[in-house]
């Protein structure tokens, strides 16, 4: 399980470019930074009001006034900046983030995202998810390809309540990297051990092959 999460994180990291300003959701997304190549430096925003998030604070670094959106005490890199929630969500809605990376319950071929509410479970609260996916230039979903019961999470149409319509640009799973294209979802790369057919078999919507070039292989 943990290996799968790290595998996904490593492949999300491979999509980021030097200079990107990004926001990371809790879970797999927070693992991505440890897999960035040396030549790629990114600036991390946390929606509670900081840009320039560094690693988790330890020992004497801990300052109780400095947390990320997951309420973890963090360090801030030189050049970092604190701001209030109105500025923070201005940054988010205003498309000043190159990418937001977050988990999902379901994604569909139209780029619709469901990640905040399973009816009948806990009272949901969207937090900043709806704002983040509406505003960021790229919405990268990092998740396992199927549910723990083996059901597809990538569908023709989401069945769970939506977080936003038509926002997802890229999906990175333990089986494949998919990009949203005009026709639907395009298979960019597959995991070692998978075939185009095996990925299609666990996906609930058609997957298109790239118009140019071949389906690549994900980083091991």
């Amino acid at each position: 399980m943990s290996d799968v999460r790290h595998f996904i994180a490593r492949n999300v990291a491979s999509l980021l470019r030097n200079g990107d300003v990004i926001n990371l959701g809790v879970g797999i997304p927070t693992l991505t930074t440890q897999y960035l190549p040396d030549e790629v430096e990114v600036l991390i925003q946390a929606e509670n009001g900081v840009i320039g998030c560094g690693p988790e604070a330890v020992g004497e670094q801990i300052d109780r006034d400095i947390i990320d959106a997951g309420a973890k005490c963090i360090t801030v890199i030189p050049g970092g900046w604190f701001f209030d929630s109105a500025v923070s969500f201005g940054i988010i809605r205003g498309a000043h983030l190159d990418a937001t990376i977050l988990g999902a319950l379901q994604v569909d071929e139209k780029g619709n995202l469901a990640n905040w509410y399973v009816p009948g479970k806990l009272l949901p609260g969207p937090g900043g998810a709806m704002d983040l996916v509406a505003g960021a230039r790229q919405v990268i979903v990092a998740m396992e390809h199927v549910t723990k019961y083996g059901e597809p999470k990538i569908l023709s149409e989401c069945t769970l309540p939506l977080t936003a319509i038509g926002v997802v640009t890229t999906i990175v799973t333990d089986a494949a990297i998919l990009k949203r294209a005009e026709l639907g979802l395009e298979l960019v790369a597959i995991a070692p051990g998978e075939t185009i057919e095996s990925v299609r078999a666990k996906t609930g919507c058609p997957l298109h092959l790239p118009k140019e070039g071949q389906v690549g292989e994900m980083l091991q």
């Binding site: 209030d84 929630s85 609260g125 936003a164």
Partner: protein, 229 residues
């Protein structure tokens, strides 16, 4: 009466008298950071009920700073909660399902901007956030520049309870690091704003450049009883 005074320092009793039945109250803070824990205690100690509380989150962890505010909810003194992040409060679902509490879920940035709109005299704003979701139900859709937007209305309040790191007696305040969050937005959005500070300093000690909350947005200042370190 104008908002200028050189001595806004208030007693606990004076604060408690400000809480009245039926009020809408803004609560600052994001998780434990920047949360006015002493004011939450005073609110809990008051008899005010039939309240509408507005906050980003409200944990019911008995060891946490939000606990007294969460108790106001569990005691049935809150009619409606307007909130963004619910997962830190494990009681909300049963209160909601037993219809003891109305809950309005608001995306975090929309919550911030609705409060800001109230603070700065705007009639509302247009946003794509939440469009096409359950949270768009009942909201007016406005088509502009080729796009559909939700019309989000200002969220005004009777009282705001906010927290600062340092404040002077005029109510000018500094919110260091990630304690700004909702505090700087909520302070100007209510008819009456009570600010709790870790440290209270004489007027003139804060430089004009460093002030996050201008004193004209603050009506009362109290010394925080919280000892967190």
């Amino acid at each position: 009466m104008g908002k200028f005074s050189r001595d806004k320092l208030a007693s606990k009793q004076a604060v408690i008298e400000k809480f009245q039945d039926g009020q809408t109250i803004l609560l600052g803070g994001f998780n434990r950071v920047g949360a006015p824990g002493t004011l939450f205690k005073y609110l809990h100690e008051s008899a005010a009920r039939d309240l509408t509380l507005v906050c980003n989150n409200c944990s019911n962890d008995p060891a946490g700073i939000w606990y007294p505010a969460s108790q106001v909810i569990s005691e049935g003194r809150v009619r409606q909660l307007k909130i963004s992040f619910t997962r830190t409060n494990t009681e909300l679902i049963s209160l909601y399902e037993s219809r003891k509490l109305e809950v309005e879920l608001i995306p975090q940035g929309t919550l911030a901007e609705r409060i800001r709109a109230a603070a700065y005299g705007l009639g509302g704003f247009l946003t794509t956030v939440g469009y096409g979701t359950l949270l768009a139900e009942g909201k007016q859709i406005i088509h502009a520049n080729g796009k559909d937007y939700l019309l989000e209305l200002p969220l005004h309040a009777d009282l705001a309870l906010v927290k600062a790191t340092k404040a002077d007696l005029m109510g000018n305040a500094v919110c260091r690091a990630t304690t700004k969050n909702f505090n700087t937005i909520m302070a100007p959005a209510a008819d009456f704003t009570i600010l709790e500070a870790d440290q209270i300093v004489p007027v003139g000690e804060l430089t004009p450049e460093e002030i996050d909350i201008p004193g004209i947005f603050v009506d009362m200042v109290i010394q925080s009883e919280e000892v967190l370190k």
